[in-house]
Amino acid sequence: MRWDYSPAPESTDHVRLRDRYGLFIGGEFVEADAYAPTINPATEEPLAEIAQASAADVARAVDAARAAAPGWAALSGLERGKYVFRIARLIQERARELAIVETLDGGKPIKESRDIDIPLAAAHFFYYAGWADKLAYGVPVPPARGAVRPRGVVGQVIPWNFPLLMAAWKLAPALATGNTAVLKPADTTPLTALLLAEILQEAELPDGVVNIVPGDGSAGAALVRGAVDKVAFTGSTAVGRDIQAALAGRDVGLTLELGGKSANIVFEDAALEQAVEGIVQGIFFNQGHVCCAGSRLLVQESVAEQVVDRLWARMQSLRVGDPLDKNTDVGAINSAAQLSRIGELVAAGVEEGAGLRQVSCSLPDRGFWFAPALFTEASPAHRVSREEIFGPVLTVTTFRTHAEAVEKANNSPYGLAAGIWTDKGSKAFEVAAQLRSGVVWQNTYNHFDPTAAFGGFKESGFGREGGAAGLRPYVKVEGE
C-alpha cells in the first residue's frame, strides 16, 4: 500500500538572489571577464550569473590572502575566534534562506539542507572558533619547541554535494588557526559560498582573510598550483591524484578527502528494521552524492533474502521529486554530467550481469533525476561494486562468516567509511578494529559532528577534518 502526500513546498518568498555575483577578493565583490549561469538541477532554470575566475583572478585572490596574512595571524586567538563566532551566528540567523538556496542550486531535499547542511555548517564555525585561543592545547607542542603557527595562505577546493558545509569544514579550522584562505566552490553549486561572502562582510572579517573564486576545474587547478602554503581538497580521487602529482617536490602541505566505496555490513543478529532504515539512510541520503555513502551492502547469507525484501519494500515508499517539498526524500541529481555518469555505470552493471532493480516512480519532465536503484548479485569484480557511483545506487553482496565480511569490506582501494549492524557490542567493536576505514558507524550511518574527526585510509585521501585532529594540517610548530 502506498499513501500519497499533498505537496508541501517550502516558500521561497524571502530569498533574494542577485542577478549576478562577482568574485569575492580582498573583502569585496569584483567583476570578472567571464560569467556563466548556475542552474536549478530540478528545473534546469537559471538562478544567477556567476563570475568564472581566470588563472589571473585566482592569483589576485592569493595575493589578497597573502597581504592579509600577517595581520590576521597577529591577532590574538581570542579576537580571531570572535570573528569566527560571528560567522557561526550569522549563518544561524540566515539559516532558512541558506537552506533554500542550497536546495535550489544543488537539488538536495529541503529537509536535508534545513536540518543537516546548514546547522552543521554553523556548528563547524562555532566549534573551531573556540579553538582559536586554545591551539597549544589542541596540537601537542613538544616541550622545547615553542609555538603553534599558521601555515600562511591556504588554497581550498570543495565539491558540489554539501556546498556550504564543505566551505565550513575548510574555512573554520583555517581561520581559527590564523591562516588566510582562497576558496574555490564547485561550478554547479557556487551560490551559498557567495552568500557566505556576504556574511563575511557582515561579520566585518578583515579584507582578504577569505577570498572566494567561483569557476570551473581550471580555476581549481590554478589555485592548487598557485603561490599557496597549503592545499585542502575534497572531491574525486582522480583529481586528488592529479593535485598530489602537481605538488610533487614542493613543500606545500596537502590534505585530500576523496572518494569511497563504503561497506554497510549487516549481521544476522542485527535489529533488521533498524538496519534497513540505516541502509536507506546510508545510500539514498543526498541522492547518494556522499563520499562516505554506504554503497556496498554486505548481508549475512542467513538473513539476506529477508533484508533485501524489506529493503525493496521500504524503497517503494521513498518520495522522489521536488527538492523544495518538505516531504521529499530523494531530490534531483546535481547536474546533467553527474546523471550521465550514473547512467553509464549502471548500464555497465547491467551488462556485466548484476541484477538491477529500480524503483518505478513518476519523475518530473524537466531536470535531472534518477530513481533509487539496487543491484543484487553484484560480484566484487563488477564495476558497480568497485567504482564510486556517487548516485542513489546500492549493490548487494552476501557473506557467510565474520572473516569474509571483513575481507570483502576491505577489498577496495578506498577506505573512507563503513557501517556495522549487530546487536552484539563486542562483535561491533571487533569488526570495527579490523576495517581499514576512517569512520565506522555501528548501528547507525551518516552521522557527522564538528567534534569528530572525518577522513579516509588508503585512496580515500589523507588528513582529517573535524575535532582536534582537524587543526593539525593547518599549523606548523615552530620555535619562538
Binding site: 613538544p142 602529482a245 576523496l258 565506522v440 558507524w441 548501528n443 552521522h447 577522513g455 582536534a468 585532529a469
Partner: protein, 257 residues
C-alpha cells in the same frame, strides 16, 4: 694462524636472511653486498603486507616490550657498531614507550551533539616504505624503523646505498630479537633501482622520504600520487612522525535504545 670467517651479507626479508633473487651483488666498503632488485621489492612488500595485520593487532603493551627488547639486543652487540650506537639504542627505548601513549595524545572521545559514544583513535596506516637514499646515520635508520613500528606499521627499508653495512648488521640484531618475521624488511642495493620501485608499489601505504635529494623526492611524490600514498619528509619531532604514520579512525556507537 687462524683464518677469519668472512661474512657474506644478505638481505633481511620475512625474518630470513636471503640473497637477492637477482643473484647480483655490489662491493661496498670492502664487503660484498646484495644488490636488491625490483622483484626483491615486490617480494618484501608482499611479505610485509602479510605481517601487517598481526603486528597491528598486538596489544600496545606487547609492541612496546618487543621494541624495548630490540634495544636490549642492540646494546648487547653495541661493539659491532660505530660511536653513534648509543643514540640508536636510546631511539628504540624512546619509541618502545610510545606504543601505549599515542592514544592518550592523539585520540579523543568526541562530545557529539547526539546520543552517541564517538571516539577517534590513531590506527596504523599499514605498510611503510623507508627510503634512505645514499647515506643515513644509524640513529636515523633506527628512528625510521622504530617510529612506524611503534605506531603499529610494518616497514620495507631501502638501506643507504653508500653505507648499507650497519643496516644489514642491524638486521642480524633484529633477527634474534622478538620482532616478528616480516615486520621489518631491509633491502640493500642501488637507490636508483629500489627507490622508484618502492615509491610506485601499489601496496605501500606511506613513505618516509629521507633521501635528502630534491630530484629523487620529486620523483617519489609523483609515484606516490598514483595511489595517494602519504609522504613524509624528515620530521624533527617524534610525535609529528607518529601522527603522520597513523590514521585517525572515528567510531560511532549509539547510546540508549
Amino acid at each position: 694462524m687462524r683464518v677469519a670467517v668472512a661474512k657474506t651479507y644478505k638481505l633481511y626479508v620475512g625474518g630470513a636472511f636471503v640473497r637477492s633473487e637477482s643473484g647480483r651483488h655490489d662491493q661496498v666498503n670492502g664487503a660484498n653486498v646484495p644488490r636488491g632488485s625490483r622483484k626483491d621489492v615486490r617480494d618484501a612488500v608482499k611479505i610485509a603486507r602479510g605481517a601487517a595485520g598481526g603486528w597491528g593487532r598486538r596489544t600496545a603493551y606487547n609492541r612496546g616490550q618487543i621494541l624495548y627488547r630490540a634495544a636490549e639486543a642492540l646494546e648487547s652487540r653495541a661493539g659491532e657498531f660505530g660511536d653513534d650506537v648509543g643514540e640508536a639504542i636510546d631511539t628504540f627505548v624512546h619509541y618502545a614507550g610510545w606504543t601505549d601513549k599515542l592514544h592518550a595524545v592523539l585520540g579523543t572521545v568526541n562530545p557529539v551533539a547526539a546520543p552517541f559514544l564517538s571516539m577517534s583513535t590513531p590506527e596504523p596506516t599499514g605498510v611503510v616504505a623507508v627510503l634512505l637514499g645514499s647515506s643515513a646515520s644509524l640513529p636515523s635508520l633506527v628512528e625510521s624503523i622504530a617510529a612506524p613500528l611503534a605506531a603499529g606499521n610494518v616497514v620495507v627499508v631501502q638501506l643507504p646505498e653508500s653505507d648499507p653495512l650497519p643496516g644489514l648488521d642491524l638486521g642480524e640484531v633484529l633477527g634474534v630479537s622478538d620482532i616478528p618475521a616480516g615486520v621489518v624488511n631491509l633491502l640493500s642495493g642501488r637507490a636508483s633501482e629500489l627507490v622508484p620501485a618502492l615509491a610506485a608499489h601499489r601496496d605501500v601505504n606511506a613513505i618516509i622520504d629521507a633521501t635528502d635529494d630534491a630530484e629523487l623526492s620529486k620523483q617519489i611524490d609523483t609515484f606516490a600520487s598514483e595511489t595517494l600514498k602519504r609522504v613524509l619528509r624528515t620530521e624533527s619531532d617524534p610525535l609529528d612522525l607518529l601522527a603522520a604514520l597513523t590514521e585517525i579512525r572515528t567510531v560511532w556507537h549509539p547510546i540508549g535504545a
